[in-house]
Symmetry: C2
Subunit: 340 residues, 2 copies
Amino acid sequence: MTTFTTMAPDARRVLVLGGTGFLGTHLVDALVRAGSHVRVFARSVPRRDGEASPDEADVSQRLCNVEVVTGDLGSGEGLAAALDSVDIVYHLISSTLPSTSNADPIADVQSNLVGTLRLLQLMRDAKINRIVYVSSGGTVYGNPAMLPVPETHSLKPLCSYGVVKVAVENYLNMFAELYGITANVLRVSNPYGTHQHHIGVQGVIPTFFRKVADGVPIEIWGDGSVVRDYIHVSDVVSALLIAGTRLQSGVFNIGSGTGHSVNEVLDIVQQTIGRAASVRYLPQRNFDVERIFLDIARARAELRWQPELSLDTGCGLYWQEICTRLSGGGAADLDNGRTQ
Amino acid sequence: MTTFTTMAPDARRVLVLGGTGFLGTHLVDALVRAGSHVRVFARSVPRRDGEASPDEADVSQRLCNVEVVTGDLGSGEGLAAALDSVDIVYHLISSTLPSTSNADPIADVQSNLVGTLRLLQLMRDAKINRIVYVSSGGTVYGNPAMLPVPETHSLKPLCSYGVVKVAVENYLNMFAELYGITANVLRVSNPYGTHQHHIGVQGVIPTFFRKVADGVPIEIWGDGSVVRDYIHVSDVVSALLIAGTRLQSGVFNIGSGTGHSVNEVLDIVQQTIGRAASVRYLPQRNFDVERIFLDIARARAELRWQPELSLDTGCGLYWQEICTRLSGGGAADLDNGRTQ
């Protein structure tokens, strides 16, 4: 394991909060490849013993070149140690999901908002002045009045997850203005890719692939007309890397810039696998935004970034990665999805 | 004391959170005059004994016709009892000030945001579906990109007080959308009037009156060019009463619609009293917004409300009330201001 104390003196020291999660695992890979020294802050170290699931084993393997500090953002446990000697912080942690955050908004605030405020105060006191924060392109705007929705659109979130993201964004802006912290906020739409665990709108693509492959009926909330902006995790990671090099603060939509209905996604999944799905439609959930996709002109212009993979291509790549792993003996993501 | 159990069956039962504070005292007076049955929720009952200050005695006198429930919004203590059999809630509590909230934003969130979330959950569970919330016209917009600033302006608060107000507004909107609560948000600018205790930008008018009257030097942060939108408390109360009758949700700027610099306010105070002030200018505070005054077109159109008192007239009225009380033997507001 590489630690900050043994590293080359000119390398960037990067802390990734949530580095064992979906986006985090991919980001850590990319940062290590780019020559950064990476420390991961997470609730637990993925198991490496004989009981580890294929997915845990894979994440564990990816993390063997980085330092892992365990702790909890909500309580602040371990956070000060994780921040020691860090140049830049990537904050990818959320303890809630859009679909479940309304069940206990107080816990959402306690864990994610108070936890992030504690992080910002520790960063200010330790003079760590760069942070990249993953916000939520799908929830902060609420039901958008225009499509694609630009960053300047009013923020009217309809779930606690989104309200907390907006509050964190506002505190980041305040800390940037008052204390000279460089804060870059990426309002990421709906990322998909390997290591994605969540079932629900956020994880609809892996879920569909698993169920269609298994011949299991698919359940869709509403009539499948809900439109989202799906983006492959590799495109999100390229935006995260660029954001980490910026010397000024900013807020950027990170999405594909186009919308696809849930039914369209299912069509692509069926075509990719070459198998038909059976579908059951459930009642609409009233905290779901109807149609949203992001205007990414600002990120194109100021980050000189653009998504490289269409939804077709990205789904093909995803399925190829899963099949490669399956044929290699590890049914990682599929096994993992099945147990949740 | 009138309680809900002894009241006329057709009267509205109104709970005022923060009913012993500056705006609250005036609102309670107006609600009682309008025939509502009023319950006040506050940290403590103003003293009535021989040790009570003239200001405390005055507030105590005003509250003798209403029921007072003591408790704490931050901890939730006493809140459920206060909500019993209520038709509508006025939420006027803030445990922080714009000028001091940045010293401990976590405490700000814990007390005001978590406390309000607990209130909303209790209201939802008890099927109390109407709330009027006093937000902050002076802080939620940050430094406005246009003047006067309309409700549709982006929300970029530069102090924790404002970040929390925005988060509360977003939760109110969410509870309105999801749970059928009618929430009216009044973004009040800088109210002034009797019973105003705070020293600082919010309480600049009473502070100036006291110091000019006493011949004490006045301290001004910056060069006195900072522009605010001052509104007499009676105009705020009239908007609060109208908002309490609405059957749909809304967000409204409540201000005079015009801006005055701190130096202009001081001129008016000197002219009103007929005495010159001595002034000391202090360094600018970097969390102060430079110039702000509110676009009140929406409130004029949808609430059919407008402010009745100009700053000149309002300051004259304020000074008249203070002098009347002074000549009546109680140096209420002036004595109170002097001890803070």
